[in-house]
């Protein structure tokens, strides 16, 4: 189980680092001129890199001390991924702050971001779910 936990944290870190890189690249190569979208990409990239680094630290701490990171960290990663995915969906449908794009453009960044953010959402959300289940199971039951 410990190995799975470490791999899960490293997987989240890799997904966050990838989505951070892709959004930073898009920001540098033009998106920074877009109202609201540009600064959002910058913050998303910064937060993704930060959380990716913290998940690497979390994996190392699990190896060294077996103490897990706070659940809040997984919650932040899941929220970031969910927010990015929601923004993507809005930008392909009704528009996001007036910004609309078609399909999986820009390629390949759009597709890679979708894959990375979905993986982060699954891993972080899955971790939260199993932690919650363990908490429920461990809770004292009334006689």
């Amino acid at each position: 189980m410990r190995v799975v936990g470490i791999l899960s944290r490293l997987g989240i870190a890799a997904g966050l680092a990838l989505t951070g890189y892709l959004h930073a690249d898009l920001y540098v190569h033009g998106y920074r001129g877009l109202h609201v979208i540009g600064p959002s990409f910058l913050w998303l990239a910064g937060a993704s890199f930060a959380l990716a680094a913290l998940f690497v630290v979390a994996a190392l701490l699990v190896v060294a001390t077996a103490v897990p990171e706070p659940a809040l960290l997984r919650l932040a990663a899941a929220a970031l991924a969910a927010g990015a995915l929601a923004g993507f969906a809005l930008s392909r449908t009704v528009g996001l702050f007036g910004f609309l794009e078609r399909g999986l453009q820009p390629a390949p960044q759009a597709l890679l971001s979708l894959v990375a953010e979905s993986a982060v959402l699954l891993l972080a959300g899955g971790g939260l779910w199993s932690a919650w289940r363990r908490g429920v199971a461990a809770a004292p039951t009334p006689d």
Binding site: A45, A47, A50, E69, F97, P106
Partner: protein, 302 residues
């Protein structure tokens, strides 16, 4: 929560905030780095793009657009090399009057360059579907004014996406067929440069800053290793890469427009005194055989 837990949470949260700010700063710093200078190789292909001169415009955003365009021409003529050609990517005139076309043509005759080329903007076809534009600049073009040519191994395509526009730019079936046939015989490693007035990418469709059938044209160019699309219309610099295609929106020689979404409508922006010239400019483009990408250098009006 125990004191120990509180400290632990604070450490994680603080680290997240500090690293987020640091990451944002680094990305922002990278974005602010100047674009590498155009290739210094004297054998490189060099040309200049200017756009959106709007001769005849009168308004507080620029009370002397003719003077600004004259300054842009002087700046091109002062370059340390003679560009192979100067491409004006549309909105040469503001209202398509015969006098405005005469004036812009005369002014462009003063350019020190091998060739003066143009594509029309929607302001160049007010009320006449581009007839006066084609009379002035349409010699040797096909259809409504589109054409292609080759220089030093680069294939250039000049498109017209301003004549059938509803809200977005539009190329139309005839022009799309032209693009398909035009590139059919080219090898996939031929560098392609496409000129248009309205962006061929969805820069801001809410303001009509995109071309509704550009996806088909770009589909014909998908097999090429290097495709560069240069456009005007939006009066500001913007760069975007989608797969093998890089889009570069040029600035104007007349007046700035707001950044996408930062105003209710894309109407001329009046800048504080002394700031206008920083928003206007010309673009130098160079290409060295054997390299994949074109070098783009945007310069403000001096």
């Amino acid at each position: 929560m125990t004191r120990r837990q509180l400290l632990r949470h604070t450490a994680w949260f603080g680290s997240a905030v500090v690293l987020t700010v640091a990451g944002g700063e680094v990305v922002s710093h990278v974005a602010d780095q100047p674009v590498p200078a155009a290739a210094a190789d004297p054998t490189a292909l060099r040309f200049v793009q200017v756009s959106d001169s709007h001769l005849g415009f009168t308004g507080p955003a620029n009370t002397a657009v003719e003077e600004s365009f004259g300054d842009a021409i002087a700046q091109i003529n002062a370059l340390p090399y003679e560009p192979a050609f100067v491409m004006h990517t549309g909105d040469l005139t503001h209202l398509s009057t015969a006098a405005q076309f005469d004036q812009v043509k005369q002014m462009m005759h003063g350019l020190r360059t091998g060739q003066v080329l143009t594509v029309p903007g929607e302001h160049d076809s007010v009320d006449d579907a581009g007839q006066k534009y084609r009379a002035a600049f349409g010699a040797g073009t096909r259809g409504d004014g589109w054409y292609s040519f080759d220089t030093r191994g680069v294939h250039f395509i000049a498109l017209v996406n301003t004549l059938s526009l509803e809200k977005l730019g539009h190329l139309g079936t005839e022009q799309l067929d032209f693009v398909r046939q035009d590139v059919a015989g080219l090898s996939s490693d031929t560098p392609i440069v496409v000129f248009s007035h309205i962006p061929l990418f969805a820069m801001y469709p809410a303001w009509g800053w995109g071309t509704d059938d550009a996806v088909r044209a770009l589909g014909y160019l998908r097999r090429f290793s290097s495709v560069t699309c240069l456009n005007g219309h939006v009066h500001q610099l913007f760069t975007k890469t989608e797969g093998n295609v890089t889009f570069h929106s040029a600035t104007t020689t007349a007046y700035p427009l707001p950044q996408p979404g930062r105003a209710p409508a894309p109407t001329p922006v009046t800048l504080p005194a002394g700031k206008l010239r920083d928003a206007l400019g010309i673009r130098e483009v160079s290409y060295r055989a054997g390299t994949r990408a074109l070098a783009i250098k945007d310069r403000t009006l001096t």
